[in-house]
Amino acid sequence: DARVTQTPRHKVTEMGQEVTMRCQPILGHNTVFWYRQTMMQGLELLAYFRNRAPLDDSGMPKDRFSAEMPDATLATLKIQPSEPRDSAVYFCASGLVKDSPQHFGDGTRLSIL
């Protein structure tokens, strides 16, 4: 089965460091989503792309977060500088619009010390 691939699976780093998370969507999917999961807030949408164009990043703290899709096979989510409150699991999901469900990657567990 085709899968969404996320790297790294785990990341531990110190406050102030730059963090880059990568996602390879399922081939042929034209939408890519970034979600953040925490105990307090649950699953929150950070940003998403359709046909590589950013459509909505209203859920993302723009002063430190950025999301890009340099090509159809790669989406990135960067945090610079990172803060302890950014500690969470970050999921990437891909899909086709309308009647196709989103397929999730295994997530990146990020810990900022």
């Binding site: 649950g42 949408l45 699991v89 999901a93 899909g95 469900p101 989103q102 397929h103 999730f104």
Partner: protein, 117 residues
């Protein structure tokens, strides 16, 4: 804005029995899609079942079925013959293309289901 409410933070069931997880949502849209996702301790997000709002027939996938009540805005998940591997957090999710939402998912807070031997 759409909201999804899962009123049961935790539930438990004995192996082989049936359990129903509740979900309600709020929307003014007529066309939308509803999903149940399962997240086991491995933290993968696994699609369990989906329902299109314009279809009256309730979706079924093996031991999983839904009771979709459009007028009541209710979308419950029934798990029959519960298995130990069903132990997981279950999320109800909503999506539509209204108001520029562009099919992004809105999730409920989740229900932690424990299947006991």
């Amino acid at each position: 804005a759409q909201t999804v409410t899962q009123s049961q933070p935790e539930m438990s069931v004995q192996e082989a029995e049936t359990v129903t997880l509740s979900c309600t949502y709020d929307t003014s849209e007529n066309n939308y899609y509803l999903f149940w996702y399962k997240q086991p301790p491995s933290r993968q997000m696994i699609l369990v079942i989906r329902q299109e709002a314009y279809k009256q027939q309730n979706a079924t996938e093996n031991r999983f079925s839904v009771n979709f009540q459009k007028a009541a805005k209710s979308f419950s998940l029934k798990i029959s013959d519960s298995q130990l591997g069903d132990t997981a957090m279950y999320f109800c999710a909503f999506t539509s293309d209204s108001g520029g939402s562009n099919y992004k998912l809105t999730f409920g807070k989740g229900t932690l289901l424990t299947v006991n031997p």
